[in-house]
Amino acid sequence: MQELVNRAKELLADGTVARVLGWKAGDLPYNPEPAYFEKAEELVDFVYNGFCGANLSKYMIEASKLEGKTMVCLKPCDTYSFNQLIKEHRVDRDKAYIVGVGCKGKLDIEKIRKQGIKGIELIQGAELTDEADTLKIQTIYGDKTCAYADAMLERCHVCKGKEHMVYDELIGDSNETKDADRFDEVAKLETMSPEEKFAFFQKELSKCIRCNACRNVCPACSCRKCVFDSTKFDSSQKANVDSFEEKMFHIIRAFHVAGRCTDCGECSRVCPQGIPLHLFNRKFIKDIDELYGEYQAGADITSKAPLTNYTFEDAEPSIVGKRG
């Protein structure tokens, strides 16, 4: 982290960048927030640890409009989003100085709470430099421990890898955190009966409160105005009055990002109701991989997206239900 701060200071001092986009220490052990730093002295608050899960790519849409370059800290998975945004002309590559930061898996405070740990006062082991694979947590109700891996975000268990897809320089090392196949959950659902599938999604989606956190955090949902906020399709909604509406919202959202979603996992991370929203996006990714050839959005900035591409021999829609 110190290396990052030092580099940020250098870049600010020599005028390479006008500001730094990183994380500012929070007032609890686990709540750093994305923040801009414009002066070297502000960097005392800079922090980069296991709780810095937020994908800063989307902030670059606004930062691209500002005067001068912005140094932005991107984890390997975040760089896919940034590439995708470049491809869609939503960010300006020339306005970004990308520091690819190392990552040893990001932590999910909800997962720690799920283990019954509450009244958290202090967490040790979340720094990038900490080698320990156990978090030591001091709480009002006594000291607790939690395995680092057990507190990791779902997306880190299916990590896309340690490589940064786009960067100006790299700082820090990354750990291999992948211990599951990202399509396992989808494949499991696919084998269920229609009744079971319906029950599963009905239950999960019934929790949706339409806060739009998934949409607003999503780097692919970068529309200036979402179709669900506009009158263009007569689809503007602010609440799910009927259970159909949450399905409509999530299916259409997933469809609109199909072939563009990098599977960054932000939607699932931010959902206040813990809905596994990645299951929608990954279904499309899995279908695309199987039907049209493997495609990773954001791995490059030139390839044709699956939904703006075709081959004569593409599968017919009737393949649905015939597979598996």
Partner: protein
Amino acid sequence: MQRIGVFVCHCGSNIAATVDVSKVVEMAHMEPGVVHAEDYQYMCSEAGQAKIAAAIQEKKLTGMVVCSCSPRMHEATFRKAAERAGLNPYMVEIANIREHCSWIHKDMEEATKKAVILMRAAIAKVNLNAPLQPGESRVTKRALVIGGGIAGIQTAIDIADAGYEVDIVEKTPSIGGRMSQLDKTFPTLDCSACILTPKMVEASAHEKINIYTYSEVEKVSGFVGDFTVDIRKKARSVDMDKCTGCGVCQEKCPSKKAPSEFNRGLNTRSAIYTPFAQAIPNVPVIDREACIKFKTGKCGVCSKVCQAGAIDYEQKDEIVTEKYGAIVVATGFDTINLEKYDEYAYSQSKDVITSLELERVMNAAGPTHGHLERLSDGKAPKEIVFIQCVGSRCSDDRGKPYCSKICCMYTAKHAMLIRDKYPDVNVTVFYIDVRTPGKNFDEFYRRAVEQYGVNYIKGQVGKVIPQPDGKLLVQGSDLLDNKQILKEADMVVLATAIEPNPDVRRIATMLTASIDTNNFLTEAHAKLRPVESPTAGIFLSGVCQGPKDIPETVAQAGAAAVKAIGLLAKDKLLTNPCTAQSDILLCNGCSTCENVCPYGAITYEDKEVNDHGIRETRRIAVVNSALCQGCGACTVACPSGAMDLQGFSNRQIIAEVDAICR
């Protein structure tokens, strides 16, 4: 709120026998916005149209629905009727209650119910219709032909004969193209030059044709009817107006080591050169790479010997900007690079040549002055092997997956000519299939076998092994006799696959014309619009669209010309108003729509927008309504719904869905 009139047609008994027309009228009155509803025996008749006109005027209708036969039948009729009565024709919607209802249902109650629903959907849609005006764009009465081969020449002549100005842009110093390199043509064995040269002369002498040789298209902007093109005239170093074409400069030029492009590099030419004797224009160019004057600053022989003082070492590239209404692409082909076909020893032996090289060898103006001889030692060959499908029909990355189409015929031609002129030479052709569809084509091939004794063997050659004594050992297989064949040959001729001129990629990009995976230009419709590109105003002539022989090329050249003439004959173009439009407040500028547009109708501009008080410059999609054909692919690709299709808008279709499901 619209004021809608509903007109229900009986179509004699065609509709009325199954649909309770009066009930439909009654139900129409219940719908919001409907101020008038009536039925009539034949709405499409003059009397029916008069009723419509009267209602439009009396009830001040702003929209109307005709419940009748298919819109494919009478939509145009009713639109015209509406327009005559002062209603915008795009405020008319048809509810198809005949083909989609009365003719397929027997039960009257059921059919009537359905007719009412179809009518409601049409009313719901027309409620959201907006008057549309077809756009107009002017047509510049001048055509550009890119490529000066037989395809380009023929297209240019045909367009010019119709009275329109045509410019030909040719990359090399002379027009003529591949055909000028051929010795004889199948299946009549005419001398190629003898039939091509008059065409070249005709083109150059035509008062409506202007030829830019040694020139390339640099930039294209605009759209159908109104293209603006920058043409780069490369510095020729010879003044076109002064040169008399006497040829002394070429004789005296001390630099004679440059490989002759015209003779496929089989011999050399001078640094100042015309590619061939019949070149048009008959004005040489200086190859600055080969010229001693340009390389060292010393020499200047050509300038000294030129009586006309035409040599101009200071000449610079010049950009000419012209406007065109139509563009024809006729960029032709080349043979593929054989580097990856090591087994045929093309790069190891001078006596392994391509068929196009053989054309030059057999030609009196060629490197051997028309004598059939081995290029390695000048000896007369006794045994010649032809290998077919070299690089054609290949699914690996060495060759091309398609059939090059012309090889079977020209090989038969070569074999026949050799046997005719040199009866003591044995000719063997290794083939996979002999493909001869075409008038007199199979007869031609049979003549080669029956009359000229050419030995055709079914089976591909695996390897050509140059021998120390200069012979070539050909290892092939005879699939019919199930034998492996080892044959000593003096010369091997490869029927090399053809591919589109590599420049076509650059040109297609400039024209936003699409090309397929093999770099052939895509036609607007494989069957019904084979000489048009999907991009309006761009036409295709010759091999740039797909492999073809000379007669086919000439036929297609004429067809492309007719299409171009049809366009140029118009004073202005009416554009279909049902085009896509992007909402500047919603557009993200993400380029997704551009990627699915088959017509290159979408571009992006940085526009100043005022989004409810926020002023900023944004990248916005702009649809060129002259190019847009209204398919709607972009509207679905657009995630924010910024892109919408006039006449079939999102809200209109949704209104129809709602009305049907109500």
